[in-house]
Symmetry: C2
Subunit: 596 residues, 2 copies
């Protein structure tokens, strides 16, 4: 079974040499993130991942069971959940007013990677809880916050999000679940929700469901949707638990992967719910949760790729098969290790270059998130919010598409052994697959990006991104190797991206389908520019370390080599994406529906 | 559960309007392939697929069981296997001297698509048998042929291929299974083989294992490997069955998919085996089987994509979600069908354009195969053999990589419903995944292509391919729309391919890794040129039909539209592949193994 080792050195490099978090005086709490502290946290987080969570990953693949309305999680999950709670990991970045430790999100993201790499299905329990926590924190009344937040920060109670119904997922305007107002100010909720992760389970005293429903008489479509808190067990005035509420699991879905997390059909039958935020404005509130969830899911793409890559790299160094074409490398052995073969290296480097680049990009995004929550400067907060809004669909869509592909590559290195369960590689593929679908399928992310985010503030946010890249290139030009291997390719990729945006602007005006037909290509194009920029930042930091006479030059030289691989072999994809985009709507739209 | 409908009209179009099989006077048996006959065969084949095999696909996903050495296939498989046998489908293209019907391979391939689309795991039983049949047919003594071929043509007995051992798959030079010569001319075989599809099951009276093993005292490495026939049950002189042979299933692998076919660990314990072909030349003989198997597996990529695409297209026309951005299309319904959305169409068209293009290319390859077996012209036979040798790794690697991606796209259209088992979409993904791995992992195909096939006959075969494309373009130039939409893009793609080959030639001489680092990219580049050429041939045939005043213009116009999609949105990938190839060996090789 796969062994997982936390890539602490790589994470520390991004935090302290690329982002330089410890030098950041502007964001509250960043100055406490000394290398001593972060490395202590990351080492501990890695230990939990390696020792407790990773061994449960294949156990979890055996699935949850439903019997008489009770969902049993896989053996060992409860104990592990206690470890996670007791270690304070769930409340690392939560509000100290409600039992949290108040640390910057960037360290929570950095540490959380290891747990989710080690066991994705398991980490969904606390991940969704954190999203629900944030939504109540943002929109709840003081009484609601007092009732729920502390228990949720510590995961004593877990949370869920209830959007999808059998006939509607993406198109929430169609949803039918009803919320009838009661005299006491509460509501009675009735309806069926599907695909509810961790909707019912045996690891928490209570489960706090956030539920989208319609208050009768409200507007039709998405403008008549409200958000409700609906606890599994009613909470008494004194905070103690009362009776069961009218919500129950109806079924567990049989699915492709993430078997360690129960995907529930939830039946609401006059369940008591409490309005969260304003009536009919539930979607806006839910987006708080969804944006967080989208970042979490973006991470899952990276995390599964990272975990799968590690195992594949070890296998490629260990498994003997064939001989290097340039001459025997291990004459004392019956064959050379797989890693001598260029095509095996290509697969490994695709993975390695994606994983390390994506890690940097995700921590850059976490820093933006912290800026929104921790900067004293209103303009900077707003700019960060805009930029993160622009990047969120790219991170979610690109990272999960790529992350899945990379688990497939990792599996491929094992040959037939990758297809059988024994080695655990096929589980990575099955688990990673969901990330392309949930929290808004990747096509919906592309639509959000091209149909909404590009035009936000009249395109000023996108222009801000281009300006940032341009300025970055200008500021760092002058080193021959850097110009050739990094800044040049980045400039070309950014040019492709601008040409694509220009095409959308001119041709999308004539026919919006000219833009939408290329939305997914643009999302990928953008993703490559983002990773190209992240890699260039890492290359610059590595050069600085080498020039500064580091005691560990191999680490930095290999960083630069890996980055060069990304720039020379992954970035050329931007040209292909641009060509597809510029072919416009006609090839996509001119075939009548009945011809499919 | 997915419904499957055989795309008979599309197949007939390729057979009679692109290949014009009925006009081919040169290949024996082609003149009998009238449209009346082929459509009758295809309709019947489709019926078997739709009515018998497709409903068993999800049943088969429940898996086989092993109990006391007996492997039980899923319920209904035995009866379906009788249908397949009784309908004469297994012997359609087999030698009439041994109970076959002697039809051209092209019609066997055309009809076989439907069966394998309907149920891939099921069709592996007869597919492997056919490969074993061909190997005995090519290398067996008359006595061996008399003993085995008729029973195998009809699948009364099935066949297997036994190559892989726990410590070696790709590198067969390492294999250890021993074959001790006996006084009576037979051998005693001892060793363990793994990943043996249909190694043991309950659907045939006997199983004929073809086994690679070493005769003691022979050369080391691949030059000391011999091939043996090793029946599960000994065959008496009179052809009746005798005692059990010393071969038994040790275990069934738990795996990601193709659960309907048992993947066996086979233990040989002094099993009686009979040398097939010459001693120490087993690999050459096995390649007969492998080349056939590679073509079969290439097909699986297409077939799974085709089956998944059908279901996805129906769902996209049926499922209501969101509104068209250019204006409501179904005002009477609560929402428009998914197919109004450009990004959904993009996914469907990626699939449709691949499936139809790949079908044409595969039937072109089947025609080459028939040329080898049926042409009276030695030079044409040799040329066809060379060309098919060049194309085989491309078809296997490119089709299965793409086929898998297309099942993932098809699944994606279902959103969350694609991830749960209920709709059957995730099974297509799990099943299609194996095709990238077995019969030589796709990296091995790329190595075979670039490391061996390109240099075959001093590069003359590759040059022959380029000349053929060039001549084809020249002969068809002059129609403005065809030039712009098809011939122009094909020319560009072919130019990219020639530039890549040129790079390999000049830089690969300096360092073979310069070629091998780009081998997988070249395989994909080649695949696109092949499909671009196939699509151009289909476009030309469609224009001819339209000019000829067809009664069904929609069919041909939509063919041209689908082809245009492929040319404008898939073919630009060749430029990216070329850029990767030209980045050479350094980015792939310069990182030391310990840095992974």
């Amino acid at each position: 079974m796969p062994v997982y080792n936390a890539p602490v050195e790589d994470t520390l490099f991004v935090l302290h040499e690329v982002l330089k978090v410890h030098e950041n005086k502007e964001l509250e709490g960043y100055d406490e993130l000394t290398q001593d502290l972060t490395s202590a946290i990351l080492e501990e987080a890695g230990k939990l991942g390696t020792e407790v969570l990773a061994p449960l990953n294949s156990v979890g693949d055996g699935g949850c069971t439903l019997e008489n309305g009770v969902v049993r999680t896989p053996e060992g999950f409860q104990e592990a959940f206690n470890h996670l709670r007791d270690g304070g990991w769930t409340a690392l970045a939560s509000d100290p007013a409600y039992g949290g430790q108040g640390m910057p999100g960037v360290i929570h993201a950095a540490a959380g990677e290891y747990h989710s790499s080690a066991n994705m299905a398991f980490m969904m329990f606390s991940g969704l809880t954190h999203g629900a926590y944030r939504t109540i924190h943002a929109y709840g009344t003081d009484a609601q916050k007092d009732t729920y937040l502390e228990k949720m920060a510590t995961c004593e109670w877990t949370g869920t999000m209830n959007l999808t119904e059998p006939h509607c997922g993406t198109d929430l305007g169609l949803l039918r679940t009803k919320a009838e107002p009661q005299d006491d100010g509460s509501y009675k909720i009735s309806g069926q929700k599907i695909f509810i992760s961790a909707g019912e389970h045996d690891m928490a005293d209570n489960i706090v469901h956030l539920v989208l429903a319609r208050i009768p008489g409200g507007p039709e479509g998405v403008k008549g949707i409200s958000l409700f808190i609906c606890p599994k067990i009613m909470v008494n005035e004194d905070g103690s638990l009362g009776q069961r509420n009218g919500v129950a699991v109806g079924n567990l879905e049989e699915k492709m992967g993430i078997h360690g997390n129960p995907t529930c059909v939830m039946n609401y039958d006059d369940a008591t719910g409490y309005l969260l935020g304003e009536p009919h404005k539930g979607l806006r509130a839910m987006f708080t949760m969804m944006n967080q969830a989208r970042m979490d899911v973006a991470g899952q793409g990276l995390y599964q790729a990272s975990a799968a890559y590690q195992v594949a790299a070890e296998y490629a160094k260990d498994r003997l098969q064939g001989r290097a074409v340039t001459g025997v490398e291990a004459p004392e052995k019956p064959a050379d290790p797989l890693i001598v073969h260029p095509d095996v290296r290509r697969m490994l480097l695709d993975q390695k270059a994606f994983v390390e680049g994506a890690r940097a990009a995700l921590l850059i995004a976490a820093e933006l998130h912290d800026t929104i929550g921790r900067s004293q400067d209103t303009a900077k907060r707003e700019a960060a919010d805009d930029m993160l809004g622009l990047l969120t669909p790219v991170l979610k869509g690109f990272f999960t598409d790529k992350g899945f592909d990379m688990t497939v590559q990792a599996q491929q290195i094992f040959g037939g052994h990758g297809y059988i369960k024994e080695w655990g590689m096929e589980q990575f593929v099955r688990d990673a697959r969901i990330a392309m679908i949930y929290e808004g399928a990747n096509g919906v992310q592309a639509l959000d990006l091209v149909g909404r985010k590009l035009a936000h503030k009249g395109g000023a946010v996108l222009m801000g991104f281009f300006d940032m890249i341009k300025k970055f290139i200008k500021e760092n030009e002058g080193d021959e190797a850097l110009d050739r291997d990094f800044l040049g390719p980045l400039k070309q990729a950014s040019k492709d991206m601008q040409a694509a945006a220009m095409y959308f602007m001119s041709e999308g005006m004539k026919n919006p389908n000219n833009a939408l037909a290329g939305s997914s290509d643009f999302m990928h194009l953008f993703g490559h520019v983002l990773l190209g920029w992240s890699w260039t930042r890492m290359a610059i930091a590595s050069k600085a370390a080498l020039n500064g006479g580091t005691s560990n030059p191999d680490f930095y030289e290999n960083k630069i080599r890996t980055g060069r691989y990304y720039m020379s072999r992954s970035l050329p994809e931007t040209g292909m994406r641009l060509a597809r985009i510029q072919s416009g709507a006609d090839p996509v739209m001119d075939i009548p529906a009945e011809a499919f």
